[in-house]
C-alpha cells in the first residue's frame, strides 16, 4: 500500500507534466519575443532613416559635393544645400565641450575614489546622479537665462553663440564622464596602489603614473560616451546657440548644429521637398556618427581588456 503511493509520487515527479511543459515553453517564447522586438526596432529604424536620408542623393539630384559644401541657401535660385557649417558646428561644440569636461569629470572621479574622506564621496555621489537626471530643456533654459546674458555683457556679442553651447553641453556631459571614470578607477585592484606606495611614491605619483595609465581605456570610453551625448543633444543646444547658417569660425558668434537645424526646420518644411529630404540626410549623419562612437568605444574596451 505504502509502496504504491511512493511510486505514484515518484512517477509524478519524473514524468514531465503537460501543463508544466506548456508553461515552460510559453515563458521561453515570451522572453524570446521581447528580444526580437528590440532587434526588429533597431533594424526598422536603420532602414527608415537611411532610406529617407539617401533619397536626397538618389532622387533629388543633390550631389555629395554639394551636400558637404559650405553654401547653405535653401531659398536661393538655384537653391544650395551645403551642410558643412552645421557639421562643423556639431563637431566643434562636441570637441570643445569634451575638452572642458574631461579633465573636470576625471578629476572629480579621482577625487571621489582616491582622495575624498568618506563624507566627500557621500556628497559628490548623489550630486553626480542628480546632474544625470536633470532634463536637457532645463539645462537649455538655465543657459538661456544665465549664460547667454552673461556672455552678452562680457563679450559684447549677441550672447547666443558657440561658446554658450559649449558651456551648457560641458555641464551636461560631466556626470556621464565622471560616473564611468569612477567605475573604472574602482575596478583597479588595491594591490596596485599598495605596490606603488610601497615603492615610496606619493599619492599624486601613484595617481598620475599608475592609476590613470592603467585605466586610460576606461576613462577614454567615458569621454567618448559624453561626446556621443553632446553630438546628439538637440534642444538645450538649439536654445542657446543662435541658429544662424554661418561657418563656425569664432567662439562668440551664433552658429548652428545638425540637431538644431533639424529641430527648427523639420516641422515647417513640406515632406517630399528637397529641403525636407536634406534634413533627413542630416539625421542620417547623426545616426552614422552614433555608430562611429560605438565602434570607438568597443575598440577601446577591447584594448582595455587585453
Amino acid at each position: 500500500m505504502e509502496n504504491r503511493a511512493t511510486s505514484e509520487w515518484a512517477n509524478q515527479l519524473l514524468r514531465p507534466d503537460k501543463k508544466q511543459r506548456r508553461l515552460e515553453l510559453q515563458g521561453r517564447l515570451m522572453t524570446l519575443i521581447s528580444a526580437w522586438v528590440i532587434i526588429l526596432t533597431l533594424f526598422s529604424l536603420l532602414y527608415f532613416i537611411a532610406s529617407k536620408g539617401i533619397s536626397t542623393f538618389l532622387f533629388d539630384g543633390v550631389s555629395l559635393s554639394q551636400f558637404f559644401s559650405g553654401k547653405w541657401a535653401p531659398a536661393g535660385t538655384p537653391p544650395s544645400f551645403g551642410t558643412l557649417p552645421f557639421i562643423l558646428g556639431s563637431f566643434m561644440v562636441t570637441v570643445l565641450a569634451a575638452v572642458i569636461s574631461a579633465p573636470l569629470g576625471i578629476g572629480a572621479a579621482i577625487y571621489m575614489t582616491e582622495i575624498a574622506p568618506s563624507w566627500g564621496k557621500k556628497i559628490l555621489q548623489p550630486v553626480i546622479e542628480l546632474l544625470v537626471g536633470i532634463p536637457s530643456v532645463v539645462y537649455g533654459f538655465v543657459g538661456l537665462t544665465v549664460i547667454v546674458p552673461f556672455l552678452r555683457d562680457v563679450t559684447g556679442g549677441p550672447g547666443f553663440s558657440l561658446l554658450a553651447g559649449v558651456l551648457v553641453l560641458s555641464v551636461m556631459i560631466l556626470p556621464t564622464i565622471t560616473s564611468i571614470a569612477v567605475d573604472t578607477l574602482q575596478s583597479i585592484p588595491r594591490s596596485m596602489r599598495e605596490a606603488s606606495y610601497a615603492l615610496g611614491a606619493t599619492r599624486w605619483q601613484t595617481i598620475s603614473r599608475v592609476l590613470v595609465r592603467t585605466s586610460l581605456p576606461g576613462l577614454m570610453t567615458g569621454v567618448v560616451l559624453g561626446m556621443a551625448r553632446a553630438f546628439g543633444e538637440a534642444l538645450a543646444v538649439q536654445m542657446v546657440i543662435g541658429n544662424t547658417d554661418t561657418m563656425p569660425t569664432n567662439l562668440i558668434q551664433p552658429i548652428s548644429t545638425l540637431t538644431s537645424v533639424i529641430t527648427l526646420h523639420m516641422g515647417d518644411t513640406v515632406p517630399g521637398t528637397v529641403y525636407n529630404d536634406v534634413l533627413w540626410s542630416m539625421a542620417l549623419i547623426l545616426l552614422l556618427m552614433t555608430l562611429v562612437f560605438i565602434v570607438l568605444i568597443r575598440w577601446m574596451t577591447r584594448r582595455g581588456e587585453s
Binding site: Q20, L45, Y111
Partner: protein
Amino acid sequence: MNAKLADRIATIVFYLIALLIIGILSGLIGFILVRGLNVIDWHFLTSPPSTLTAGGGVAPQLFNSLYLLVLTMLITIPLGLGGGIYLAEYAKPGKWTDILRLSIEVLSSLPSIVVGLFGFLVFVQYTGWGFSLAAGALALTVFNLPLMVRVVEQAIRAVPREQREASYALGVTKWQTITRVVLPAALPGILTGTILAAGRVFGEAAALLFTAGMSSPMLDFTNWDPTSLSSPFNPFRPASTLAVHIWKINSEAIIPDAKEVAAGASAVLVLAVLFFNLTARALGRWIHKRMTSGS
C-alpha cells in the same frame, strides 16, 4: 621634496575640482528652485496655459507628462522584463546574442531626436494616428526599453546561483524558478532601476516634438470617454508635455511671462526628478531591509 610639493598641489587641485562641481550643481538647482518656486502656486498647477496674456498655468502639460509616463511604462516594463530575463537566463553566447547586445547598445545611445524622427515616420505617419500620446509613448519606448532590459538583466544576474540551485533541487522547473524565486529576489534592483528610468522619460523632450506634438487640445477633465478628443485619457490625441512646453515657450512664445512660466515648469521638472531619485533610493533600501531581515 619636489614630489611632495607636486603631491600637495595636485591634492589642492582635486579639492578645487570637487568644490567647483558641487558649486555648479548647487548653483543650478538653487537657481531653478528659487526662480521657479516663486511662480508655482495652486493656480499655476491647475490652470491651462494662455496663448497671449500673462498668468497661464501648466495643468494639461503636467497631466500629459504623467499620463505619457504611465503609457510608456505599460509598454516598456513587460518587454523589458522579457528581454532582461532572456539575456540573463536563456541567451547562449553566440552570434544571435551578440546581435541582440549590439542592438541594445545602439538603441540606447541613439540621439533622441533621431528616435523622434523615426517615431514621426512610423507611429505618426504610417499608422495614421497623427501627433498622439500613443506615438509619443512608442517613441519613448524605443530608447527606454534598452535601459530597462539592462536594469532587469543586471538585477537578475545579481541573484546568487545557490538560490536557483536550491529551487532546481526541489524539482521546480526553470520557468517557475524564474518567476517564483529569481524575480522576487531581483525585485529591489528592478524597481529602483525602473523608477530612475521613469525619471528620464519624464524629462524627455526632443523625441516628443515630432511624435506627441507641441500642442494640447482643450481638455475637459470631466470627460472620461477615451475616444473623445477633449478627453484627457484619449491616447490618440496630441499632447505637449512639461519639457516640450518649456522648449516651446522659450523659443517661440509670445506670452509676456514666458520666462516665469519656463522657470516654474523647470522647477516642477527638477522636483519630479528629485522625487524619482529619492523614491528609488528609499524604496531600494526599504525592500532590502525587509528581505534581509528574514521576515
